[in-house]
């Protein structure tokens, strides 16, 4: 018995255990997603997050300890963002053809993401700093953190709001767009990327390559637009 406790205390302090468990949790999440017939509400990110969060709570492990292992996975977000250049390039002809509707969808989607989040939050009486933290929630996290700092929000809260937004987007996008009878994978993917950044983009790639490529473009463009517009938005409405 003491052996097991010794082994646990040794492993739980090093990066190996939590790195491995992150991959295992993802494999379980992805397995559930496949078993459920790739249903959008069985989201692999959400399942793995919940499994790991429960495990941290159950074992009394701090997030800092966990992240020492998981950071190796987290780090790959950077090169993955760079890799989005490849689907952008291979869909370049389609992107150029639909530059105008994409630009329109970007402006409307991005403004709606900032405006409606704050409006609904204000209607429910959330305080000012929380509302400010909500403004960049649709942007990918590195941008959202910077924007939140600039406009006076709470960057650490913003990160959580960004992630929840991504998971919501990944879960609702397919049924929502089916309901609205939007079939074009370019528009479907792009709107998802604008509103739900990388997690939405990951979902779009599960559905269709074109949707994924356009989601990646939407994510990057909305990141740039949010960085530009958020300070202006705050000046106008706060």
């Amino acid at each position: 018995m003491t052996d097991i406790i010794d082994i646990w205390s040794y492993l739980s302090e090093g990066p190996l255990l939590w790195l491995t468990l992150t991959l295992v949790a993802y494999l379980i999440g992805d397995g559930c997603f496949r078993l459920a017939g790739r249903k959008p509400y069985v989201n692999p990110v959400l399942i793995s997050m919940l499994l790991l969060a429960a495990l941290l709570e159950a074992t009394g492990t701090s997030y800092q300890t966990y992240f020492e292992g998981a950071q190796f996975v987290h780090f790959m977000l950077g090169p993955a963002t760079v890799a989005l250049a490849v689907p952008l390039w291979s869909n370049w002809r389609k992107v150029r053809e639909s530059a105008l509707p994409l630009l329109a969808a970007l402006c409307v989607g991005s403004a709606m993401a900032m405006g409606s989040g704050v409006a609904i939050g204000a209607a429910f009486g959330l305080d000012r700093q929380i509302l400010l933290s909500l403004v960049p929630k649709a942007a990918t996290s590195p941008i959202a953190i910077g924007v939140s700092e600039t406009i006076g929000g709470l960057p650490t809260l913003t990160v959580v709001l960004v992630l929840i937004t991504g998971v919501i987007g990944a879960v609702v996008t397919t049924p929502l767009l089916n309901l609205l009878r939007i079939r074009d994978y370019r528009g479907r993917g792009f709107a998802t990327g604008v509103a739900a950044h990388g997690i939405g983009t990951a979902r779009a790639f599960q559905v269709h390559g074109t949707a994924g490529a356009f989601a990646g473009i939407g994510m990057v463009l909305n990141a740039a637009l949010t960085a530009l517009l958020a300070p202006l938005f705050v000046k106008l409405f706060f």
């Binding site: 992150t22 991959l23 692999p44 959400l46 793995s48 969060a53 941290l56 966990y66 992240f67 998981a70 987290h74 977000l77 950077g78 090169p79 993955a80 963002t81 760079v82 890799a83 250049a85 490849v86 390039w89 639909s98 105008l100 509707p101 994409l102 969808a105 989607g109 709606m112 989040g117 939050g121 429910f124 009486g125 909500l134 590195p142 941008i143 650490t156 809260l157 709001l161 992630l163 937004t165 919501i168 987007g169 929502l176 767009l177 609205l180 939007i182 079939r183 074009d184 994978y185 792009f190 739900a196 939405g200 983009t201 990951a202 979902r203 269709h208 390559g209 939407g218 740039a224 530009l228």
Partner: protein, 120 residues
């Protein structure tokens, strides 16, 4: 494959350096993505060479968000206090943003007389 990852990391590095030097409000990886896209448009054979690696890598994009997502454990108390209004704001706003964004794409295309593209 090592070379291909080297390309992604190299462009990220380049993006980080440019982001610092120029003070642009975009993160390094986003700048790196733009530069790599420009390179591929200029030299398509490079794109063909790295396409397989990029597609395989991006098919597991979900995994990469898990570590940051688990960070939610740090905010459970804070979130439970304001959970309902926040959930309403996040859900309502995300639904509206995806919906009006996609509808805008559709109707601007229709105004231009461009048909929907519906792959089988």
């Amino acid at each position: 494959m090592i070379l291909h990852f080297g390309i992604f990391l190299g462009f990220q590095l380049l993006g980080e350096v440019l982001s610092r030097i120029t003070g642009i409000a975009l993160p390094g990886p986003v700048i790196g993505m733009g530069l790599l896209a420009a390179l591929l448009l200029w030299r398509p054979p490079i794109g063909t060479a790295i396409e397989g690696t990029a597609t395989g890598f991006l098919s597991h994009l979900s995994l990469l968000y898990v570590p940051a997502g688990v960070g939610i454990v740090q905010y459970l108390d804070q979130l439970s206090e304001i959970g309902l209004p926040l959930a309403a704001a996040l859900l309502g706003s995300t639904v509206l943003s995806i919906g009006v964004g996609a509808l805008t794409f559709k109707y601007v295309n229709r105004l231009r007389g461009v048909a929907d593209e519906t792959p089988a």
